[in-house]
Subunit: 225 residues, 2 copies
DNA sequence: TATCATTTTTAGATGAGTCTAAATTCTATT
DNA sequence: AATAGAATTTAGACTCATCTAAAAATGATA
């Protein structure tokens, strides 16, 4: 077993790697809320344990072994989130925080039991894919809502869980995973976006729209500038 | 919030205090699997935080504040045990280990949700009382099964959860909390005990019978020597 | 291409919790 | 009451993860 701290680093590296290719000391420092010097010394340790590869001043990259562990933690995290939401009615903006602590102490046996009770799910409450036990993960092919055009309709695939306020904000509009909606208008220069979800209209700031990812985009691409 | 280690010490002190009045450095050392010197230094810290009182060479005692915290942890522990058994079907010999880790990271909100789902229970799967939120606990008035006499019948109140093997052993005989049974014979000098539970007979070593606590004792006290 | 701001690393310290070995205090027995 | 053996505490060291301050490397631009 690895320490909680090591698990947190590996998870953070995986998440940054998914978006940025370069996983810098600074990005980890920000994500984990620790000083850059602390990151450097942890990187040294992870590197010795062959969980990451590291070239000085060039960022880190997970090894096979490192990725396996990070996906195990992410599996724990997302199964827990879904379990809390489904079985105990915890609101989707609170499940992340709870899972953040529990994920490090969940046994494999309990993981399996939760998985079974949930019916072997593939998505967490925010739409993020749940890695399988053997370490495969179905990453989504989705785009930010902010990139849509007027007149297009789409389906919510995933909402970033990094900020509870964001989740409450878009939740009030009904923008949960699998929700269908239509873009009525979208203003230029990152202006507000008017959408129709389940019969009712809402206006959404572009900041939030960056963090709502959608699929099944249909309709005119020429509606607005 | 206190560290996991502090919580473990407080819980251990509570548990020893319940049986032994003197909570010695050595008893803590054994219960927590740490060196006696480590206990001494932790006692110093707990004492500074006013969670225990301590006279050198004379053992420790929980303060009001210390007891409150230890009961909160025990509440977490026992609610989790019951939840795991009821909601996820975890066998009663495994719930302790799982709860031991989870108890330290359980939020108050989740505690409340589990409490409600379980219907505000008063006993964990081993029959131990669950402290209330405000820190009251209904300690049981029970005696070890080993102290019974031939011919007496009684009801299982609680089984010690300190050893999973013990739980599996007595579980095979049906000696769960609330089970009624009758002592058919009991041999002297800590000999084997023959009992009848739910229609079938079993023989039980006195070692195990020390850790099974019973109430509602009825019948002859004069049956055996 | 030389310089300067940014990023990263090194050096050294800190706090938490643990350990071993040695000293001290207590207690039971003669 | 003296003393042997057990329990407890002190002293000093270790690991883990972090920090701050300072040095070094990078790379962007004038």
């Amino acid at each position: 077993m690895y320490t909680e701290s090591i698990e947190d680093y590996l998870k953070a590296i995986y998440e940054i790697q998914k978006e940025h290719a370069k996983v810098s000391t600074n990005s980890l420092s920000e994500k984990l809320n620790v000083a850059p010097a602390s990151v450097t010394s942890m990187i040294k340790k992870l590197s010795e344990k062959k969980l990451v590869t590291h070239k000085r001043y060039q960022g880190v990259k997970l090894t096979k072994a490192g990725q396996k562990i990070s996906l195990e933690i992410i599996r724990h995290h997302r199964l827990i989130e879904l379990y809390l939401a489904e079985a105990l009615g915890v609101p989707w903006d609170q499940v992340h925080e709870e899972a953040e602590k529990w994920e490090h102490v969940l046994s494999e046996d309990l993981e399996d039991r939760m998985d079974a009770v949930l019916g072997y799910p593939t998505r967490d409450p925010h739409g993020a894919p749940i890695p399988s036990r053997d370490g495969t993960i179905a990453e989504l092919d989705s785009i930010p809502l902010a990139d849509l055009r007027s007149g297009q309709s789409a389906v919510v695939a995933e909402v970033s869980d990094h900020d509870p306020d964001l989740l409450r904000y878009v939740g009030k509009m009904g923008l949960y995973p699998k929700a269908k909606f239509k873009v009525l208008s979208i203003e230029p220069f990152n202006g507000p976006i008017k959408i129709k979800v389940d019969g009712s209209e809402h206006v959404l700031g572009s900041g939030a729209a960056q963090y709502v990812f959608v699929t099944e985009v249909k309709g005119s691409t020429t509606g607005a500038t």
